[in-house]
């Protein structure tokens, strides 16, 4: 037990991995072998990057001790800015850069308001959730802009690649971002500051870490990833709907939490966020394949989230108790 707890503390995402394997086995059985066939996996992997990119950003921010509820709205706003500019005849590069810049600005605003007025990010980003969504709908003019044909570089973001067209390009982007973020968090001094800031703010401050700047930067990374994910979805669908990403913020938080990220900050891994996102996709997909009423999805997701938090905090409390024993 002691060994297990130690492993758990070092790799909080492991519980999620175990659950994922169990779930995959169940769905594989229930669906009569359809779940793990290449056609279904292709579908799964095609949608995964969009949720996972958002979840990774939210995970990073939660490790830094903050929340972002506006990611779903940024997910819609960023591609909408891009689409509106494209419709007006601007070249793709410019429109794309403008979209991402808007995402960065939203992240900066979230971070700046949170750290300088010392308000919970739950509130600032809840406000931003409405503001960004509202702007999205307003600039869309009520219905999606008409994109000139062939203006989107789908080959770069959503085309199928690999053996048998197994992956979309977006999957490669997702892997690249995942590696980058993991290195950032685990292997760079900036990552150390993020974890210290979220782990115990007074300590980070007393060691001279610019915690405000660290938080603002992390808010910006989170927002940028949400915006990027949104552009991928729009390129996959071919049309920028102002309503995309609704509810995504909660799925992202759920993914982070299921993957072992602590709500209190300081604990968690990027891999955990990814595993949480995979679990969410798998549940959604597996329920459909098992021909269960799709409305059960939210129930399953909600139950799993609460379950994960309970298990995590129980394990942490347990681990703590053991530590106290051994130290005296």
């Amino acid at each position: 037990m002691r060994r297990l707890l130690k492993i758990y503390l070092e790799k909080p995402e492991l519980a999620g991995v175990v659950f994922l394997i169990v779930l995959a086995a169940i769905f594989q059985h229930q669906s009569g072998g359809v779940f793990l066939n290449s056609f279904n996996l292709q579908g799964l992997l095609g949608l995964l990057p969009e949720v996972a990119l958002v979840a990774m950003g939210v995970t990073l921010l939660m490790i830094c001790g903050e929340f972002d509820l506006s990611v779903g709205s940024v997910f819609a706003l960023c591609p909408m800015v891009m689409a509106v500019m494209l419709e007006a005849g601007s070249p793709f590069i410019l429109a794309y850069a403008a979209g991402l810049l808007v995402a960065l600005m939203v992240g900066f605003t979230n971070g700046f308001l949170t750290v300088h007025f010392n308000i919970p990010s739950f509130i600032t980003t809840l406000g931003m959730l409405f503001v960004a969504r509202s702007i999205t709908v307003v600039i869309s003019g009520g219905f999606p802009p008409m994109l000139p044909p062939d203006v989107l570089p789908k080959w770069l973001f959503t085309a199928y690649v690999g053996p048998g067209g197994m992956f979309r390009m977006s999957f490669l982007w997702f892997v690249a971002v995942a590696v980058l973020l993991t290195v950032l968090l685990q292997r760079t001094n900036f990552g150390n500051w993020i974890r210290a800031t979220g782990g115990f703010l007074p300590a980070a401050q007393s060691m001279g870490i610019p915690t405000k700047k660290v938080k603002i930067a992390t808010f910006m990374i989170c927002s940028l990833l949400a915006g990027f994910a949104g552009t991928i979805q729009v390129m996959r669908l071919g049309a920028p709907l102002p309503s995309i990403g609704e509810g995504l913020e909660l799925q992202a938080v759920a993914a982070a939490v299921i993957g072992g990220t602590a709500l209190t900050g300081g604990i968690g891994t990027i891999l955990g966020g990814i595993i949480g996102a995979i679990l969410i996709r798998v549940i959604d997909n597996g329920l459909v394949l098992s021909q269960v009423d799709a409305n059960w999805f939210k129930l399953a997701l909600g139950a799993l989230t609460v379950f994960a938090v309970i298990v995590n905090s129980w394990l942490r409390a347990k681990a703590k108790a053991i530590k106290v024993e051994t130290s005296t």
Binding site: R195, Q205, S206, G266
Partner: protein
């Protein structure tokens, strides 16, 4: 006569309505361990927070090694060689010992604009050495600080301060909430500062501890210094009387 390592001249500190430090002047000599005592709210923490850069003074002057200094943040003080150890807040429990040792001062490879890849091997090696240097026995630099006892944590904080070659070590109630045995350990660290040629400022509410490990006692009350004696020239009763 040796030149003081820290000279505080007519220091005042106002917190909106509160006059927390009233014209405080104090010389700290190199290599001495100064015990700072006083009732709750006497201004001890305020004084050392100004010395460690976490707060700014309202007026007055501070000289470090003979030169006027103006610390804008904890990093300035740390760079000058003043390291502060607080009761709780100098370690992140969810991070490893090695990472805690280097928070904010990480050795990096391939750095650019102050960002870079952590030199994790160096961090591990140097923290093992630093911890051994203070005679602390810990299994691994990868253990989480949250797994350590309170006394061990203070030991790591002290090892960290030594590793970064601090000249002055300020300890603000480092033994609060520690069990007797753990307290003994921390007091041992404080006493060992002398041998390491480090100047110590030790704040405690426990007068016995102060007499046990300090060379000089400074007592504060209501924002002023009310007593300043070498240990051999005073006794506990006199100190208790002025407080």
């Amino acid at each position: 006569m040796t030149e003081p390592i820290i000279q505080v001249r007519s220091l005042h500190k106002w917190y909106s309505g509160v006059h927390a430090l009233k014209d405080v002047s104090l010389d700290v000599l190199p290599n001495e361990i100064l015990g700072l005592v006083g009732d709750n709210g006497a201004g001890k923490s305020t004084l050392i927070n100004i010395l460690s850069g976490t707060q700014t003074r309202t007026s007055g002057e501070i000289l470090f090694e003979g030169r006027a200094v103006d610390f804008r943040g904890p990093r300035d003080a740390m760079n000058a060689g003043i390291e502060t150890i607080y009761q709780y807040n100098s370690m992140v429990p969810t991070m490893s010992i090695a990472r805690n040792m280097f928070i904010g001062r990480e050795p990096v490879k391939y750095g650019l604009f102050g960002f870079g890849m952590l030199d994790t091997k160096r961090m591990a090696d140097e923290s093992v050495k630093a911890i051994a240097d203070v005679d602390l026995h810990l299994r691994s630099p990868d253990a989480l600080v949250g797994e350590l006892s309170g006394g061990q944590r203070q030991g790591v904080a002290i090892a960290r301060a030594m590793h970064f070659k601090s000249k002055v070590m300020i300890l603000d109630e480092p033994t609060n909430h520690l069990a007797v045995k753990e307290t003994e350990k921390v007091l041992g660290f404080v006493k060992s500062l002398n041998d390491l040629s480090i100047t110590g400022i030790f704040i405690s509410h426990n007068i016995h501890h102060v007499f046990e490990c300090c060379d000089r006692i400074v007592a504060m009350a209501r924002g002023e210094i009310v007593l300043d004696r070498r240990v051999e020239d005073t006794n506990m009763d006199e100190v208790m009387d002025v407080l």
